[in-house]
Symmetry: D2
Subunit: 345 residues, 4 copies
């Protein structure tokens, strides 16, 4: 193994941040220059995150304060931001200005339009001048731009599970983009490591419930990318649910074939689109979140309901891996000129 790329992880204490640490600690071409936690600065990172104790750089790393000056001086060339939206931009701006390359796991740099950000996030975008610089970090859609990008807004968990089955079919003109309704279910880690009553074990176990409808924030990036693929404005219905599991997103999409399209053409179109993708598995088997948990895979399948003429697309991914930390590392691998699968297979 040759030179290791020095990276920093800003905000390591949430679920995505911890997963990012777990992946990067085992990454063969990475050294961790800094890992920050406001709450735990000064403490051994392996003590705060016991899963990581004794794993790679986490045998010695201490958490540091997320001060921008010390981050700029820590030697890292790439910066992963695992912070709440809004706060992420506060770090992205000075890092970008200092010429660093940034992979942001928050929603701050996923949208191209500050007005859409305002509409869905309820506040002004904190750094609209960078929106035209940022690349939407879903490698299967934007691999080329990601390679060259200085700032990547790594794609969100629900969006990834919805875009991967839909985009190739939309690009090929196989489905009716005016009729798309999505029901997704996520494990509870998707809500973050927040001390809220609604996320207690006693509230989430033996519970299944919809939430955040009809206008979940992730709709903004989903529709941005669907519209891009369709070269026309696409709007969909999206109903997320919370399921009693720690990890995993399952997505079920109801749509219809475009006029004249044969149902038999759908699965082959998906298989062809993803034939060379290392992390998308298209199969006749129905996806199951347990087959992707802990991996960077997104599994996809399709069924045609001949009785009603509906096409049903299904996908499964680990919300913390392909839906967050794994995707961020996949983006990083591309940006750093490494094997795209390094540390991820």
């Amino acid at each position: 193994m040759s030179r290791k790329v020095p990276v920093a992880i800003v905000g390591a204490n949430g679920y995505s941040g911890e997963e990012l640490c777990a992946i990067l600690a085992r990454h063969p071409a990475v050294s961790i220059a800094a890992v920050t936690s406001r709450q735990h600065a000064g403490k051994p990172a392996g003590g705060v995150l016991p899963r990581l104790s004794g794993v790679g750089d986490f045998s010695q790393l201490l958490f540091t304060e997320p001060a921008i000056d010390s981050l700029l001086g820590c030697g890292a060339e790439f910066f992963f931001l695992a912070l709440p939206h809004g706060l992420a931009a506060e770090y992205a701006v000075p890092l970008w200005e200092a010429g660093k390359r940034v992979i942001d796991l928050s929603a701050d740099f996923r949208l191209r339009d500050a007005g859409i950000y305002r509409e869905f996030y309820g506040e002004e975008h904190p750094a609209p001048q960078l929106l035209s610089e940022a690349v939407y970090g879903l490698p299967e859609l934007h691999r080329g731009s990601i390679r060259a990008a200085k700032l990547v807004g790594s794609a969100g968990c629900y969006p990834t599970s919805i875009l991967l089955p839909l985009v190739p079919l939309i690009k090929a003109g196989l489905i009716d983009v005016s009729d798309i309704a999505v029901a997704s279910a996520s494990g509870v880690s998707g809500a973050g490591r927040k001390a809220e009553t609604a996320l207690l074990f006693g509230e989430c176990n033996e519970s299944l419930r919809a939430y955040g409808l009809p206008k979940h924030r992730h709709l903004s990036e989903i529709e941005q990318e669907l519209s891009l693929a369709a070269s026309s404005r696409v709007m969909i219905s999206f109903t997320p649910h919370l399921a009693p599991m720690t990890r995993g997103i399952h997505t079920t999409i109801f749509t219809r074939l475009a006029a004249g399209v044969s149902p038999e053409s759908i699965l082959p179109a998906l298989q062809m689109a993803y034939a060379n993708e290392p992390f998308v598995r298209v199969s006749t088997n129905l996806p199951d979140t347990k087959h992707v948990t802990g991996t960077n895979f997104c599994d996809i399948s399709a069924r045609f309901d001949a009785r009603t003429g509906r096409l049903i697309l299904l996908s499964a991914e680990d919300n913390l891996v392909k839906g967050a930390a794994g995707q961020a590392v996949q983006n990083f691998n591309l940006m750093a000129g490494l094997d795209e699968t390094a540390g991820l297979l």
Copy 2:
């Protein structure tokens, strides 16, 4: 407490059967004349079903063989059949001929059309001559007929969760019946107490997956009842999922308003329809399976997605109670002239 109605439970060892025993053992107006289990005949029922040990009649009851002769002689006036479809009819026929009243929890007497049964269950109906006698056992739709019925095919779990939100809106002409797509998720007990690898804890925990699409058997009774409400043939898409919980069904329905209907009219229409129903709760709050677990309630809510013009209906119930055993007892209460809520609130 006055006279107790003697009942028999045929097939008490599955999940629905056990739940039925649990409800009937505590029912103030019921005495249990017989409880059968081929596998456990002769054993104390409270030993085989430890939850029930020491509860009411289960302090002394022995399981008996499900022989029709001994059932006819056991003194029961009402017979609950908690058996696989096909087998249930083998008991229903002689019981019916002997003038007994039967509540069947299987699918055998839910359909009016033997051809539909053949299409969805893949075999000839075992007793087509009784189909015109049987009543579909969903009290909120067929209360009057159930009261007088000798044979009730108690409504299924998914169907109950789908019909209760839809039927009043269809009857009132408020929705477009040509555009209905349903995503439901069920706890694993819905698959029965069967020794199958796919139902092991290790396969179902931390797993969410669709199954049985696009033509799940329950579609047959769902569409029968929707068509009845609409006075026209209704076909829908239905995607069931298995969720990592023991009990509960959550249903999310995507549909559209009928022309000229205001979104504001939906929730009031549901509230009015169920104002006097003891077991349907309509609320602005989104349903959550944990709020209905162990109860005979079905919780319903609705949201309008103004961006796409879709109406989203949501419901939650306990698949083993309102979706099976509780519903059967509600039907029984009606048939026996008891308070409809006896033993259920």
Copy 3:
């Protein structure tokens, strides 16, 4: 049903309080005069606790402020306190002085010795003058005193699961009280409905861990009652664990037979001790929490390890029912002169 006893529930919003509401709402001889919640005063109780919407008095009840004056005037004869320790005493004192009868679910009135309270709870007892008035609320041990008591400190969850198997054997001189070590595992609801990171679904699911050793607070009441049974000072080791389930406590006790005692005498001794107890089931089958969930039963069994000479006692209960709310209602039934099982079977 004749006269209903008016009761008040102070602090209904925690897990024990909600379970208490669920039991009392269905209790045939109770009317709920008041139910308090500081946080939710003025709101319909069935809206805050959706499980209870439409159930008995919860169809109309509003939460009220827990002000002592309004409680004294609400018409209740019995007061259930489901409050944190320390706070419970603040209510118990004026209620007791006003001649009301109180069932306290907290730890405030379980100990006879204010010094022990200080040692285990780290603060001065808030009302030491009432300790001699209060009765330890475990009906199987103190039924007579509970009947007459004005103030009952309802027994805790772990203590109930440990005392019920041990006390009859100690009283009969069958085991060596100098050698008792206990490993218990509790569902997460035992920790209360508190917004703490450690209780999140993502922290408790797929997790099993010990905590609170070696000196858990419940040891104080356990040893008080064991010493009473033994007529000598008994000290034990107790290791509680948190298990990934919502409800249930399982207890495994390692002890030894007293000199000359035959292993064959243990199970019969337990069976005889509990022959007439409605809520204790002694069996050769190993207890399983799922068989007691939602019930007021405590299941008990025993095994002798001939190789090492150890006796292993096992028990299971629902921590929120026999370990909290059910036990409180059992105590109430005794105090009110009702059938001890009313509302509980």
Copy 4:
């Protein structure tokens, strides 16, 4: 990466076998020459085990019949046996005779004494002549012998979690070996991928129960190794429990200090014993199974109960990794002269 060691996996379809495949597919120094499944011979391994689809050699591997001739000819130098006890020996004997090196995950070669095997497994040992050749596969205890071994009986899941905390303390004479009682809890995957009613989701979820006491089979290897460490016959009490989680074992050990030993010496003794072990983490923090899930770590801690003089040792591991497949690979790494942590960190 230089030469890859060719290996075969016999019996890949159980939980341990699948986990072994997952680890070996990502092992940097291994090529998979054959993977067998009687049930699935001829099928793509990645289709039967969807988690592994697209991972390393599993992109192309087909399952083969477990015929000894074809195994001998498949080119593998090392053979992993993930088979039921008894059956494993049928493969181990001819492989051993052909000069192959074998890592057996079953219990067949863990015991040195065929009489003990008969006592605990209820049948004659199928290959007693090999018992003296086999090495007990717990690297922390027998690293040197494992390196040179041709046949390793990889240590069991419960035994690993019990031996790692106890053996260093016993060797150092710090604890009283006559007083050891153990309560362990395992995730359900420990029972294997067997279609048994007792292992269904509906039976294991929201359930905690003891089983297999007082004489679980694993006691035989536990006591063999404890006795070896103590140079005297050691017998312990062991109560395993089934907990509602897929993976993980948590062990709580009650014991006492040897005469004159200070409680303060225990944790340092453990830390010193494991200072250079890559997979044993000793900490003052209480172990939690979620911190070791998916890893080859065993976490250990200790508490002294000054009130009763008991020492409480605690450990956590992933039953399928350090308790089965990871341990097997750790043994393999030693036997093959590779870095002990290859593929495991």
